[in-house]
């Protein structure tokens, strides 16, 4: 469990310069998530056109993992269809070992290989207390999508 696996450069970059960090004008859906025990908070707002998430914002306060996860999530989700987003959420949860998957994991050291930049978060898996930090924006996104 090396800290370098957790605090990758790209994570600190997203933490310090979060993307999609401004509130949307009249979002179609939004949800607030918080982790009362450590104080992480994130608000996710989405704009939907037809079946597509055309815009998204994630604004919050919290640790590097929750805020980087939120920022990277916005980049991964923007422009995707609901179905693609659902698949992304699923893959993310599998990478974090929050959900099991029937798929064979090609490379157990890189369960997030198919997730692009998000793969950088896979180090979190080895820090179980922090998994809920990484997961918070994704839970909140799911709630925003359900509206």
């Amino acid at each position: 469990m090396s800290l370098n696996e957790l605090y990758r450069e790209v994570i600190l970059d997203h933490y310090r310069a979060p993307r999609h960090h401004d509130h949307l004008d009249s979002p179609d859906g939004s949800a607030e998530g918080k982790n009362p025990l450590c104080g992480d908070e994130v608000t996710v707002e989405i704009k939907v056109a037809g079946d597509t998430i055309v815009d998204i914002a994630a604004i919050g306060v919290g640790c590097s993992i929750s805020q980087a996860s939120a920022s990277m999530m916005t980049e991964a989700v923007a422009g995707k269809s609901r179905e693609e987003v659902a698949e992304l959420v699923r893959k993310f949860k599998v990478m974090m070992s929050i959900e099991d998957s029937a798929e064979p994991v090609v490379d157990p050291d890189r369960p997030g290989a198919s997730l692009g930049d998000l793969e950088a978060l896979q180090g979190v898996r080895k820090f179980p207390v922090r998994i809920k930090c990484a997961d918070l924006p994704w839970i909140t996104l799911t709630q925003a999508l359900e509206q």
Binding site: Y7, C38, S64, I65
Partner: protein, 408 residues
């Protein structure tokens, strides 16, 4: 004053490794570790004396009752109370709820005020909020100064005839601030208010004398003072306890139960509904014996030593902000801080990799966190088993955090 170093051997958990490092436990403000003497007292109780108390006419039950009541006597002596003024319950939170429901629910009314400090733990806020919903009383808060002390001017100006209860933490679990309880109590009494002291942090770390404080009610927890979980104490002045209604009802707290109403047992039994935490009381008694053997003055000076050293070493780190008094005269061993833009949660993870346990968060004091304008702080807190080397380990860990986060 490292002459307490030898007592580390009494704490089995400190021999443990955590993430490949010797455990450096700096979270005693959340809960303390337990010496073997306490664990042995609990096991011995179950193996030789276990029975329900105050109920049986047989020898074993009498032995159990004696042990339980001995623990009460010990607690009473420790805080300079009469034994009838000491009721056992689950912890500080439970004890304060008992006052809120037993006294507040019967005596507060619309227009009345409950005056709290902004540095209260949720345990001395939420019970009053709940009872306010039923009574219509209003909550008012005393702010702190920029040097993290209670704003006495604000206190005195808020203390008018509407205030019926004043809730004060004797020692803040976030700032470390030791409040001048006696002075605050005198003013509250002059204004006709009762004083409820949250002593969860004070009783474990310094000599507390309820008479000297002139507290009307005072609450603390066993688990923060070397004792087991599941046990706490409500102290109340005899005449107040006698006048107060019990919050919880059930067996052992009654004198008689008729179909539609009941009469209560004598104090303190009136406040101990059902089977009490018997073995836990015995364990707390053993913890107090252990602390008394060291002496609360020695406990305090050990903590003054180690906390001063921590403040000094932390002060050397750039971009590190400490939330709490700089001076040891009015602070305890809880040191909250932030380091540059590194989130406390991240600090905690980095330190944890070196076996160092600190807390990160709002420390169950969100109103204070808001007033400090920080969503979370890191907190290192010390107790008798900590040594200067623990502080050194903390400092080294913080330097690693700076590196990882590329903080200048």
């Amino acid at each position: 004053m490292t002459d307490l170093a030898h007592i580390r051997a009494d704490f089995p958990i400190l021999r443990q490794e955590m993430n490949g490092y010797p455990l450096v436990y700096l979270d005693s403000a959340a809960t303390s570790q337990k010496p073997t003497a306490v664990l042995d007292a609990i096991t011995d109780f179950y193996e030789t004396a276990n029975a329900n108390v105050h109920r049986g006419a047989y020898a074993l039950s009498e032995i159990a009752t004696d042990r339980y009541e001995e623990a009460r006597t010990r607690v009473a002596g420790f805080i300079n109370a009469d034994r009838r003024e000491v009721a056992f319950n689950r912890g500080t939170t439970s004890a304060i709820n008992q006052v809120a429901y037993g006294w507040g629910l019967y005596n507060l009314k619309p227009g009345d005020r409950v005056l709290l400090t902004l540095m209260e733990h949720h345990a001395n806020i939420v019970p009053w909020q709940l009872v306010s919903r039923h009574t219509g009383a209003e909550l008012v808060y005393v702010p702190h100064t920029e040097s993290y002390e209670l704003d006495l001017e604000a206190y005195h100006s808020l203390l008018d005839e509407r205030v019926k209860v004043v809730g004060i933490t004797a020692m803040s679990n976030v700032l470390g601030t030791i409040n001048p309880v006696r002075q605050l109590a005198d003013a509250a009494h002059a204004a006709g208010a009762l004083v409820v002291v949250d002593a969860a942090q004070a009783v474990p770390h310094m000599a507390v004398d309820v008479k000297q404080m002139d507290a009307d009610f005072l609450a603390f927890s066993g688990h923060k003072m070397l004792g087991p979980t599941g046990i706490g104490v409500l102290y109340g002045k005899r005449e107040l306890l006698e006048a107060m209604e019990p919050a919880e009802g059930g067996g052992e707290m009654i004198s008689d139960v008729q179909l539609d109403s009941s009469t209560w047992a004598e104090v303190p039994h009136k406040f101990e509904a059902g089977t009490p935490p018997i073995a836990e009381a015995v364990g707390l008694g053993a913890a107090i014996s252990y602390l008394e053997k060291i002496g609360m003055d020695a406990v305090r000076s050990h903590e003054v030593d180690i906390t001063s050293y921590a403040l000094e070493r932390l002060g050397e780190i750039e971009n590190l902000t400490i939330y709490g008094p700089a001076d040891m005269t009015n602070r305890g061993g809880a040191v909250s801080f932030t380091l540059a833009d590194i989130h406390p949660h991240d600090l905690s993870t980095i330190l944890d990799q070196r076996g160092i346990a600190i807390r990160a968060g709002h420390h169950c004091a969100r109103p204070l966190a808001r007033s400090l304008n920080v969503p979370a702080t890191a907190r290192a807190s010390f107790y008798i088993y900590n040594v200067r080397a623990d502080v050194d380990a903390l400092i080294d860990g913080l330097h690693e955090a700076r590196e990882i986060f590329g903080v200048a």
